[in-house]
């Protein structure tokens, strides 16, 4: 039982760290990584809930486990979309900040070169 608690606290801490990085880090790619960290922390808490629900000869409750698998897939596709958006932003503006006061190269498309 205590094992589940240890990883649950670990997941909570990872979620907190991820949230901090998501807000405080100026670089979008780092924000994406931090968002994944936040997600993995929440998944870990889910895993603890699943582990505590062990019954009927199963090592854990299969429903939260299946939800985590679905969640990981969705998180990965969101990450891929975010990375693609970021790369496109870099192609169009030549920079990768979320700072709006940077009009350099707007309107042209260096990707077509």
């Amino acid at each position: 039982m205590s094992a589940a608690i240890v990883f649950g606290l670990c997941g909570a801490a990872a979620a907190g760290l991820g949230l901090y990085g998501l807000i405080a880090d100026p670089q979008p790619l780092r924000k994406i990584v931090a968002f994944n960290l936040l997600g993995s922390g929440v998944f870990m808490v889910f895993g603890v809930v699943a582990r505590r629900g062990a019954a009927s000869g199963f090592g854990g409750d299969p429903v939260p486990q299946a939800l985590v698998i679905t969640g990981v897939v969705v998180a990965f596709s969101a990450t891929a979309l975010a990375v693609a958006l970021l790369l496109r932003l870099f192609q169009v503006t030549g920079s990768a900040t979320l700072n709006t006061e940077e009009p350099a190269g707007m309107g042209t498309d260096p990707a077509d070169a």
Binding site: G59, L87, F90, Q91, A111
Partner: protein, 92 residues
Amino acid sequence: MIEFMTTVLGFILAMLALGLVRILRGPGDADRMMAAQLIGTGGIAALLLLGVVTAVPATVDVALTLALLATFASIAFVKKGRANAPDSTEGA
């Protein structure tokens, strides 16, 4: 036997934690990738031992997946070196 394997598992985990220091210090990207490579292999060993300790035989499948895919990060790293090369035919 279980106690022995748990101890070895803890020892390998400690080695992985030490390997993290190389990721921290760098100095080059190659050094960081090497540390990641060591952590990948150590993670495979740890998984195999963990499978015996927790009596979950399917853990070997996780180790198999890791053995197959742990190198992908390193391959991406090598490709990135290529993308930055002046004679490169790729890159943005």
